[in-house]
Amino acid sequence: MLEVKALARLPMLQPTSFSVPAGECGVIMGRSGAGKSVLARAITDLDPNEGDVLWRGQSRNAMPAPEWRRLVAYVPAESGWWAERVSDHFAFPGDAEALLEEVGLPAEAMHWLVARTSSGERQRLALARALAMQPQALVLDEPTSALDSESREKVEALLRRLLKEGKALLLITHDVAQARRLGQRFWRMEAGVLTPLLEPG
């Protein structure tokens, strides 16, 4: 279970508590600027924040941040790249080729130049890059916003496989239909306050 306990980053994020059991997908909806990304960044400790987050009872605050981020991976809406080739962004490029196929990219995408990729390709590469660390829980910010329906279905199938493996998923999305397809629990974020919803939309 991923447990968020009184997590806050004032004034953008009011104290927030909720949990997502292993094998389930929690969905956060809400307008741009409502504080969804602030929450995701706070969960992975990217900004100074109050409160704590636990994975299977292990406290984030009690472990080094890099270790926590490998356990609970966050894939932001905009991915960052620091080298020219895609393969330079993977610790073990050979092992990650299966993941590329699962997100609908050819294995040779590993040798592409980042500057020549489309935003949809980068979105899937960033997801594969995060999954290559084999995290236990995932926080995904708009993971399919730049994808066509075929690629989106591939990514959703991959996410379902992860859920079946007992991983917890926290999905930030504007896509109500996607929220219905994947989610078990729903929240709305508004002006830094998270409120539970009975169903999406």
Binding site: T44, D45, D47, P66, R69, P76, S79, G80, W82, M133
Partner: protein, 267 residues
Amino acid sequence: MGYISLSYWAVAASALLFVITAALALLFEMGLARSLGWVAARMVAQLLLVGLVLKFIFTATNGWVTLAAASVMAGMAMREVVRRQQRPLAGAWRWLPGPASLLLVGVLALLYALLVVIRPEPWHAPRQLLPIFGMILGNSMTGITLGLNAITEAITRERPAIEARLLLGCTRWQAVRPFAGRALRMALTPIMNAMAAAGIISLPGMMTGQILAGAPPVEAVKYQLMIMFLIAGVVGLASLAAMAGSIWRLTDERHRLRPDRFAAAES
């Protein structure tokens, strides 16, 4: 000796090309003329003054007078490093990584040069100490400024890339490493260019001066080699120290970026 004393007219004539540059800058409204003029006027005043001061110090041969002169030089260089930071740190930290590294590494390198390499008698003889210290300070100042500006620019503009590395489980040092490498290369570029060009494309300034003033070429070369090695070492160490301090301050123990610690974030 083939030493030709320069008249002040000759010095003024040498400025002609520079004046043309400034005039062109003014003509094309490149917004550069004012700073060019200011820099030139300052250089003339500084050098004339320094000539007089050096004359006094060399005749005084008093260790305390030399120390005072060296302190003034170090203070000016430190101030220049602070002023040339494009993205200074907030509060007193503005003075810490860059200027502190300049002072610390500069003084250590000076002592090493005097006590181990040159060994003048006495060790603090102003004729050796002051020019060497000046070259150390001037070059480190450039290196530190380039290195700091490159690393702080990377931390600002490449934030998504650095945070992507943090999110993949990198420590703060690992996360900035690719950018730190590029910044160090930037800091060392002027001295590496000077080393590559030395003797083939250009005669280094100090050697030119010595030869023009009548020293035997091989003696001038030996001094130049010593100076180049000292400078390259000191520029590398000082820029590394300044960059490390700046990275340390712009990240925290939870391995996250802290751009809120830039001075701009204060206002």
